[in-house]
């Protein structure tokens, strides 16, 4: 692999990416790119390679073969000392929030700026504006431990954005949340994206993300199974409504199936 093809306006490029663990391919010839300001869902069942793919992008691990390009950083040419500088250009959000319990909300968001030596004034300005954006300015002095899951995730998102990253990577950001909080987080990610930041969000919940008119990369067994842009159905509220409706239908169908199963397993009792 000599020179990666550079596409203009793409913030991430993934080229013939292969990652092998114990002679098993976790990722197998994956190719895609994310354009500046694009919103992409990365879906697939657990074990499909979503988290592995994200780790390759923030270069927690290197590919077995192939290449990952993030902004001006190229995986095949990275040195260990370059990694912190890549991380400052990429915001990362996890299912388990990864907040620091030894400091309050404000300091959790500020830490990314403190480590680059930003001035206290700049930090105050930026963190205040981000906390307002995620709706948690009134909780800036709280410890993350007392916040709800949805609030914690919003703090994590604010932290990820503090150094103006070119892309926000979110690995199952709604995985630990109830449906309402999950919806809030999704709305927040859309809002951030509309401000120009590219977002790549991994989720196993395919039905959750179908109706937003976004690009969906469907990963299965380490390969891209499908890469398509879904159609828009109405406005955002309508789409979230559709998700809720969809969930409700799923629940009803499941309940009915369960009832029928119980019915067939214990037929004698119902006859009485």
């Amino acid at each position: 692999m000599s020179e990666a093809p550079r596409e203009d306006r793409s913030v991430i490029g993934v080229y013939h990416l292969v990652k092998t663990y114990r002679e098993q391919n976790a990722l197998d010839d994956v190719n895609f790119s994310v354009a500046n300001g694009e919103f992409v869902f990365l879906v697939g069942p657990s074990g499909a390679g979503k988290s592995t793919l994200l780790r390759m992008i923030y270069m927690d691990e290197y590919p077995t073969s192939g290449q990952v390009v993030v902004g001006s950083f190229v995986s095949t040419r990275m040195k260990r000392k370059d990694i912190p500088f890549l991380r400052r250009r990429v915001g990362i959000v996890f299912q388990d929030y990864k907040l620091l319990d030894d400091r309050n909300v404000f300091d959790n968001v500020a830490v990314g700026m403190r480590i680059v030596g930003a001035s206290p004034f700049a930090i105050k300005h930026r963190v205040t504006s981000l906390l307002n954006e995620v709706g948690l300015y009134h909780k800036r002095f709280e410890n993350p431990e007392v916040l709800s899951g949805g609030e914690r995730q919003r703090v994590a998102i604010a932290r990820a954005l503090v150094n103006h990253p070119v892309i926000l990577l979110a690995d199952e950001p709604t995985g630990n949340l109830d449906p309402d909080s999950a919806e809030d987080i999704l709305r927040l990610l859309f809002k951030i994206n509309s401000g120009g930041t590219a977002v790549l969000m991994a989720t196993h919940d395919h039905s959750f993300v179908q109706n937003f008119g976004q690009r969906i990369i469907h990963l299965r067994d380490g390969k891209i199974f499908e890469d398509r842009t879904t159609g828009l159905v109405g406005n955002l509220s309508d789409r979230l409504e559709a998700v809720r409706l969809d969930r409700e239908r799923h629940r009803r169908v499941e309940r009915e199936l369960k009832r029928q199963r119980a019915h067939t397993l214990a037929p004698t009792r119902t006859h009485e």
């Binding site: 270069m59 912190p84 991380r87 620091l100 030894d102 400091r103 480590i115 001035s119 150094n163």
Partner: protein
């Protein structure tokens, strides 16, 4: 630059205040193992002082042959003083020697009254320069003086010197072996105490890496914290040692405490052990990306 330092001190302070319990336990463990080290060091220090004092007492007694005249005596004095090992030569006349002896005997001096003549010869007390106060150079010097005209006998406690040298050698050998074990175990215990602190913060390290902190930034607060723990533990162990010394003075009145300079060197070493321990414990976490 200043901002970065304030961040680093902030972080160090935050860990210490956030993990008060762990920090105190860690400091107590460190103090106790340092106390063990300090007791050993103080024992060695006193031992060396004792050996030094014994060595400074080393001198040669040169007894002159009877009938050596005044000028011959003066010539001999000059000749002995001319030896490169010699620092000073004191003449002790036979009368002085007898008077001195009488004084030493005290109440038993009566036995001397039976003497009709003074049996003690004139003599020189020869004090060698400090660097020649070893058994071997004493032997060489004594032989050379013995060969001079007018010298009857040179005495310097050869048997005592032989015994003394072998005792000192034995003590040194034991001291080095014990010292090696004590230092090793102190460093090991301290490194583990510090490791506990680092492990309790591995989530913080992981998160700092994720937001793009460079290694020096991650390491610096831990180094400061380790240095702080080492310093506090050093002071605590010195205070405990001081207490032990005061109590032991009942049994060993000559026991002396570390000089100020030695105390400072000791504290600086403990600070270094604390920060190096932190760094060692951190290393494997820094290998992560």
């Amino acid at each position: 630059m200043l901002r970065r330092w304030s961040y680093i001190f902030d972080e160090a302070l935050r860990t210490v205040s956030r993990h008060k319990g762990l920090t105190s336990i860690s400091v107590i463990i460190m103090s106790l193992s340092l106390l063990m080290l300090a007791v050993f060091l103080l024992a060695t220090d006193n031992l060396l002082k004792l050996v030094g004092e014994a060595q400074s007492e080393m001198k040669l007694y040169v007894y002159l042959a009877d009938g050596t005249g005044q000028s011959a005596t003066e010539q001999l004095h000059a000749q002995i003083l001319g030896q490169h090992e010699v620092e000073s030569v004191t003449f002790v006349s036979r009368e002085e020697a007898l008077a001195d002896f009488r004084q030493q005997l005290g109440d038993d001096a009566e036995m001397l009254s039976a003497l009709r003549t003074n049996p003690l010869p004139n003599s020189f007390w020869v004090r060698p320069k400090p660097e020649f106060k070893t058994r071997d150079s004493m032997v060489v010097l004594a032989e050379r003086i013995q060969a001079m005209r007018g010298v009857e006998e040179v005495r310097y406690g050869k048997e005592f010197l032989d015994k003394f040298a072998s005792i000192v050698r034995g003590i040194y050998a034991v001291d080095i072996v014990v010292g090696f074990i004590v230092i090793l175990s102190a460093v090991f215990i301290i490194a583990n105490a510090v490791r506990l602190t680092v492990i309790s913060r591995r989530k913080t390290i992981e998160i700092l890496k994720l937001v793009g902190a460079t290694n020096p930034f991650i390491v610096a607060p831990f180094i400061i914290e380790g240095a702080f723990q080492g310093g506090v533990a050093a002071v605590l162990s010195l205070l405990l040692l001081r207490l032990i010394t005061e109590i032991s003075r009942n049994a060993i009145p000559d026991l002396s405490f570390f000089s100020v300079e030695k105390s400072l060197v000791y504290m600086a070493t403990c600070v270094a052990i604390g920060s190096i321990g932190s760094f060692m414990a951190l290393r494997r976490y820094l290998q992560m990306r």
